[in-house]
Symmetry: C2
Subunit: 344 residues, 2 copies
């Protein structure tokens, strides 16, 4: 089932998931290809980004962004091609970073579109290392984490779109970098390919002891993107004046109840106080949108110099997006998860 | 039982408390008055500061400062008079801020002593509004809290040494200030005498609803000095980009076990993330010692201008220090708790 010029396949939210999303929470619907009105462009999706934050949009719990309405397409960043244009700023054939969602076609008045240069690296990088995940890694690590050479930086989801970039930037800044990832193959990749100093398999029952052994001088920056048992293992190792940027909590996203007691909130609070720890949540474009150019300049250089490597996990076919997304929340992807909706 | 020139009464830690400290955890011991050696001074305690952090020193759990050893005097900041001096920097009759502990006399080589001018306000202010508590309020609120005019600032222990100053500085900065305190009389004082916009009695079972009603625009800065149920009531009201300086957790200090479950840590983490909240612990002299002069200048002016009021709760007699301290942890004091060890 491939993309056509006559139909707009959409993957809609069919039902709000309870716990882990399942296939039946999504629905593939075929609708007519929309038309570009006055001053509008018609966009065709080529790459679709799948990211953990989308689990939050499937829920109607209060959050920083509105939930996806049931019966409408799932949201997503996309790399799209302009197929028709009534807007003088865009020409047919232009490539843009858009927010077109899980569908083949979308219409836009140009708001929020960013033109992409197909001669600079893979277009899909706009959804990964040069886009939201890379920018998240860069600002969270450098602005909130503020690592100094010789300090120890720990990041989980170490081969993922954000974690892999966090660790490599920390290496560029002269830090000891310890990753946490799911399985021996990802850990090997983090150390051998990405240059981390160590990487711990979070499936190991000895996670706390292994992490402590890998961080003999404690932890100065913990880039929090998972939560749960990883954070529990990290907390006692945090040093005085440690910084904890909080960008995601994937271990919690599918939870339907809070963990069993006791309530460990006082343990966290006491650590914050006695170790003078700074912990700060951030939402990348809300907090740092104005600093994108500085990120793009640095990251472009690091990629050109081979200082940052970026692995993509590309799944073919829009119809496979739900299963790929379900796997993302289980840690099944290996690298930035992207759906190739069309071949070009 | 008053101070003499011939004996040094000490209140020693007799046993590490389990839960709330009790009288038997302290022991009054009479020892000889020490002598000042070469380059040393003999200090006589006149005012003794009692502060919540001392509960931490009674415990041998790992913390930012070493615990008091059993069988040695409890630690404390003091206003002391130089009674004998072999140190050219100090003359007999000088008043100093010292860290002499719960005793009549102590010897010092001058390290860490700060001379006080008895012509500038009450000497005891060096232990309160012009000292550690006032400095804590000032830096925590202004540097971490960074309140802007029109924002809502919430502080608990609103009539205490720190909270009362936090709220009054926030008023100077143009904020809406909501206090939380124990009992109607303290709440009345916070509003009528200190100028808070509202103050909620934390004994009320309706604390969450009352706090929400007093903060119609949510909470932008929560100055955390208590923890526990107050923090639980605050958390859902925190606004996007709120700041939470963490200076103390008095509600937890006597706890022997964690609260019953479920484990609410994920609730806190999710709030930090989705609301992009900054939460930061600090230990005043470790983090901000170098900024004391800026505080002293501002606070000196505010006091001179009558913009800051400061209530002291003065207890007479070193022998009454244990009971006063036990009461402090129960919220029985009304204002900065100080023991007057001698009349001059």
């Amino acid at each position: 089932m491939t993309q056509t010029t006559t139909q707009n396949r959409q993957i809609q939210l069919a039902a709000r998931p309870v716990g882990a999303p399942k296939a039946a929470d999504f629905k593939l619907v075929t609708t007519p290809v929309p038309s570009a009105g006055a001053c509008e462009v018609l966009l065709r999706t080529v790459y679709l980004s799948l990211d953990p934050y989308m689990r939050g949009r499937m829920s109607d719990a209060a959050s920083y962004a509105a939930p996806v309405a049931v019966g409408t397409p799932m949201v997503a960043g996309t790399v799209s091609r302009v197929e028709a244009s009534n807007n003088p700023k865009f020409a047919v054939g232009d490539w843009v970073l858009a927010y077109a969602g899980w569908q083949d076609y979308a219409v836009s008045d140009g708001t929020g579109l960013t033109k992409l240069d197909p001669n600079i690296g893979p277009l899909s990088y706009a959804l990964g290392v040069m886009g939201m995940p890379g920018f998240t890694a860069y600002m969270g690590l450098l602005d909130i984490g503020a690592p100094k050479a010789g300090e120890t930086v720990v990041v989980a989801a170490a081969t993922g779109a954000v974690g892999s970039v966090v660790g490599q930037i920390a290496k560029i800044k002269g830090c000891r970098v310890v990753g946490i990832a799911g399985g021996a193959e990802k850990c090997r990749f983090a150390v051998e390919e990405l240059g981390f100093d160590a990487c711990i398999d979070h499936h190991s029952p000895k996670l706390p002891a292994l992490l402590a052994a890998a961080c003999p001088k404690g932890i100065d920056v913990y880039f929090e993107n998972v939560g749960g048992k990883v954070f529990e293992a990290v907390l006692p190792l945090l040093n005085t004046s440690a910084r904890v940027p909080v960008c995601g909590l994937i271990a919690h996203y599918n939870a339907t109840t809070l963990p069993d007691g006791p309530d460990r909130t006082p343990v966290l609070m006491r650590n914050l106080l006695t170790k003078r720890i700074r912990m700060q949540g951030f939402i990348i474009f809300d907090d740092y949108g104005h600093r994108y150019p500085e990120f793009a300049k640095d990251m472009g250089q690091w990629l050109a110099q081979g200082k940052i490597k970026f692995r993509e996990d590309i799944v073919d076919g829009l119809e496979n997006a739900p299963q790929a997304f379900i796997g993302l929340l289980e840690g099944k992807n290996f690298g930035k998860l992207i759906v190739r909706v069309a071949n070009d």
